[in-house]
């Protein structure tokens, strides 16, 4: 026997259905992100890995970082030290050079997730670990330059750095460690600290993080779960749970997104551009898809020890012979802007009047003629001794985009009489042996990762040419030696006046584009495939990823 009369049920049912449909759907308060790498370590200063940076951005903050408009701002600090505000001061050194003293204040509300305030004790401890030769810290450059840390009180301190450079107040590499938790571990055995750190031994331990979230679950190789940090001092984050899943295979990553197993693919560590373009055609209506060109600079290094490539005219001819605009349009639908030099158009030091090389096969042929390379019987040019203009072009095997570009360039260079022999190697051989030891015969295609207004010392200064004598230090793989460039780089790094520095930057770009030790191709774009309900994700295009602003991500 029914408790509700049938007539009443018939009357109520449509109302109930309509009411259910009309009830506003609660905004989704959990977010599942997919990306292609699993962070091997969660220690902020040991090892360097994009996946780790992406996750740690959500649970901690550097002292300073570039924002989405590529402007350096305080994150953990209160005010960025500058010469103008008096928080930074040049300090003369006994050797006649200038150092710098920078006064910082830690955000008054900054508190580790176990309730312990973030203090200068953490700053001093981090510097101590960073300077220790056995601590396992990957890059000690900043710590080596840091002469001492002057502690004023629990929240303010001064960094004394041995060299005053134009980027003196960019201390984003200084990632704070919790002294109250890590000091006992470090002091017990500093030489094995890297294996004993709580960041990896107990990554979910409260007190390791002070960002909007804290790590609450780690399944090695699979996923990381973040939950809001109750002690976070900034804007309250919207999502109550963020799961970050590592799915290496990008086809599987795409299937996961479509099936709803993940909500969002991290733009910085997600689909390749060609996949994203295809995805946009098939499923563009369901997602907000954007492409953010960034600081990953795709280019071709020319080995200047190669007799043919020693001649600047040959190098210029190579660039005139290729249609980079068409490559960008055809392969990347114009999403990856063609590069005029290594400086990104979004960077404030970009020069307007850099020599450009639009497709001009006639000019390329004329330059090759001038350089003494005449067309041979089979169309390939030969020099006066009959040596063919045949060059090897290598890149990382398995990188579909680069391999596709190689094919196009090979055919375009063939048209002006340059033979290209493609020789690709796995990434670890290509970077570990071939480029590092300058053993590529002609051309090497790969990308640089830099930061806004980053000095090109490591790539263009003659002291950065890797040799056996310097244990293959430096990344000047072409072997470019130009006294003016060396002088400009030295000047650039100590010039604090932006107007003067911009003039130096302009000249550097001009020399680069004239001498062409490296053929600029394009700046890589990260595809961001964001569900329509997720708002606040802002691509940056640089090393301080979008996840650094996770507290502004919301569901609508």
């Amino acid at each position: 026997m029914s408790l509700i009369p049938r007539g009443v049920a018939y009357a109520v049912l449509p109302v109930a259905i309509v009411a259910t449909l009309a009830t506003p759907v609660a905004a989704k308060d959990d977010l599942i992100i997919g990306f292609t790498q699993y962070p091997a370590t969660f220690h902020p200063n040991i090892d360097s890995m994009a996946a780790k940076t992406y996750v740690l951005n959500m649970v901690r903050r550097p002292l300073t970082a570039y924002d989405k408009d590529w402007v350096l701002r305080c994150q953990l600090c209160v005010e960025l030290p500058t010469m103008e505000n008096g928080l930074a001061k040049p300090v003369p050194r006994p050797d006649g050079k200038q150092g710098v003293a920078m006064k910082f204040a830690i955000h008054p509300g900054a508190t580790w997730s176990d309730g312990t305030p973030v203090t200068t004790a953490d700053i001093a401890f981090t510097a101590e670990v960073g300077k220790h030769p056995k601590s396992g810290v990957a890059s000690q450059e900043f710590y080596n330059r840091l002469e001492r840390v002057e502690i004023h009180d629990a929240k303010s301190f001064t960094f004394h750095v041995d060299k005053l450079t134009y980027q003196f107040n960019d201390v984003s590499d200084f990632q704070l460690l919790p002294a109250h938790l890590e000091r006992p571990v470090f002091m017990a055995d500093p030489d094995n600290y890297r294996q004993r750190t709580l960041f990896d031994a107990e990554p979910t331990k409260p007190g390791l993080h002070f960002g909007p979230y804290r790590i609450s679950e780690v399944v090695a190789g699979s996923h990381v779960v973040l939950t809001p940090n109750p002690t976070w001092y900034g804007d309250k984050p919207f999502f109550q749970r963020i799961t970050i899943r590592a799915i290496e295979n990008t086809a599987a990553l795409e299937a996961n997104l479509l099936s709803g197993s993940i909500d969002y693919i991290a733009g910085e560590l997600g689909l390749s551009l060609d996949q994203a373009l295809a995805f946009q055609k098939r499923h563009g209506a369901r997602f907000d898809i954007s492409f953010k060109p960034g600081l990953v600079y795709e280019h071709i290094d020319l080995n200047l020890d190669n007799p043919a490539l020693k001649d600047r005219r040959v190098r210029q001819a190579l660039l005139y012979a290729i249609d980079r605009q068409a490559v960008s349009q055809q392969l990347f639908e114009g999403k990856q802007p063609v590069a005029a030099s290594f400086v990104n158009p979004l960077d404030r030091v970009i020069a307007d009047d850099v020599p450009s090389y639009r497709l001009d096969p006639a000019r390329a042929q004329a330059l090759l003629d001038e350089a003494g390379f005449k067309p041979g019987a089979d169309g390939i040019r030969v020099d006066a001794n009959g040596v063919r203009l045949s060059l090897e072009l290598g890149t990382t095997a398995g990188n579909r985009t680069r391999e596709a570009v190689q094919q196009v360039l090979q055919s375009q260079w063939r048209r002006v009489g340059v033979e290209i022999r493609i020789k690709n190697d796995p990434a670890r051989i290509f970077f570990g042996e071939i480029t590092r030891k300058r053993s590529f015969g002609g051309l090497a295609m790969y990308a640089w990762l830099s930061s806004p207004e980053s000095s090109p010392r490591n790539q263009l200064h003659s002291q950065s040419i890797p040799t056996e004598a310097n244990n293959f230090a430096g990344q000047n793989y072409p072997g470019f030696k130009n006294p003016e460039m060396d002088k400009l780089i030295d000047q650039l790094e100590t010039e604090l006046d932006f107007a003067k520095r911009k003039a130096i930057w302009a000249r550097i770009q001009e020399i680069y584009a004239t001498e062409l030790p490296i053929l600029p191709l394009y700046f890589r774009a990260d595809p961001f495939i964001v569900p329509k309900w997720l708002v606040g994700v802002e691509a940056t295009g640089h090393q301080h990823y979008s996840s650094l602003r996770v507290e502004h991500w919301k569901s609508q």
Partner: protein, 321 residues
């Protein structure tokens, strides 16, 4: 019997020792070392950083010296630390091993449950319609690329139908059914491919067994078709299949790289691949040696099972009686 076992175990130890040396040297000879990998991801690392870290990780010492240090520690029970995960090797290995055994064990079980009956059925009806259909299906599944099959199942059952999650482990505390849902697609992918292989082996062994005189005798004595197949032929036919199964069981511990990668399943296959690619010597070495040891033990178990299956076989006397 005891002497035979002792001999085989001793042989296994020698194989393991040789393998450890060969694998260690090969890993060290790979171009690029862990510091190169770090440097490629961090443009700020300098030559001084490189030299410091190389010394720190012991990479500046000769290979033989490094191997000697590792071996000495391993013999004393210290299998070392993972360079990438910064945890003791066993702490990294054991959860992955558990995931792989779960995945591969379930797949092997299903493959045997499906493949062996199909093989028996096809072998007992060699040349017939059923045999042809089963054969065709076996060839098709065995020849199907795993990554393609995985993607196909993912698109059908996760994207289109939404029945199962596309990949990954279930979150902690998700419960039995949710964990099972996560397991379905990777297990089915592996089982489809494996069952075809087992069916092919079983079919071939069954066809051969059914041609023996004792089978003819059994038939002449009036034994039913089912009895002839299941009681007389099957026992002999299982001998070669046992070897294949033992090898398959061995692979339980070395994982399935492609399936694990496609389904983001953190198992041994992925771990071995990643540790080799990131020059995490200790993890790669221990994982590979563990897989070798299990394979050797499974082979030994297969040899011992012959005695149980075929009374004519005797162990330790060199030849069948």
């Amino acid at each position: 019997m005891i002497r035979y076992l002792a001999d085989r175990l001793l042989q296994s130890l020698v194989v393991l020792a040789v393998m450890s040396f060969v694998v260690y040297v090969l890993l060290c000879l790979m171009p690029g070392d862990p510091i190169d990998i770090m440097m490629s991801g961090d443009p700020k690392m300098t030559a001084a950083d490189r030299a410091r870290l190389a010394e720190d990780y012991g990479l500046d010492r000769p290979i033989l010296e490094r191997y000697g240090t590792w071996l000495k520690a391993a013999v004393s029970g210290d299998l070392g630390w993972s360079r990438t995960f910064r945890r003791p090797v066993l702490e990294i290995l054991l959860p992955r091993l558990g995931n792989t055994i779960l995945l591969m064990g379930a797949a092997l079980g299903i493959a045997l449950m499906v493949g062996l009956p199909l093989g028996i059925w096809a072998g007992s009806r060699a040349g017939g319609l059923a045999d042809r259909v089963i054969n065709l299906a076996c060839f098709a599944t065995a020849a199907t690329p795993t990554f393609w099959l995985a993607l196909l199942l993912m698109i059908l059952f996760a994207v289109k139908l939404g029945w199962f999650p596309a990949s990954g482990l279930a979150p902690r505390g998700a419960g039995f059914w949710e964990s099972l849902r996560h397991l379905v697609l990777p297990v089915v992918t592996l089982a489809i491919v494996e069952s075809g292989i087992y069916a092919r082996h079983m079919r071939a062994a069954m066809i051969e067994a059914l041609q023996h005189d004792y089978v003819r005798t059994a038939r002449a004595k009036g034994a039913t078709r089912v009895r002839v197949i299941l009681v007389h032929a099957l026992r002999n036919a299982l001998l070669p299949v046992t070897t294949v199964t033992a090898l398959g069981f061995g692979s339980l511990f070395s994982g399935a790289l492609i399936t694990e990668t496609m389904f983001a399943w953190p198992g041994m296959g992925k771990l071995i691949f990643e540790s080799i690619m990131s020059s995490d010597f200790n993890v790669a070495l221990v994982a590979l040696l563990f897989a070798t040891l299990v394979t050797l033990l499974c082979n030994l178990a297969a040899d011992l099972s012959y005695v149980a299956l075929d009374p004519r076989i005797s162990i330790g006397h060199g030849a069948a009686r």
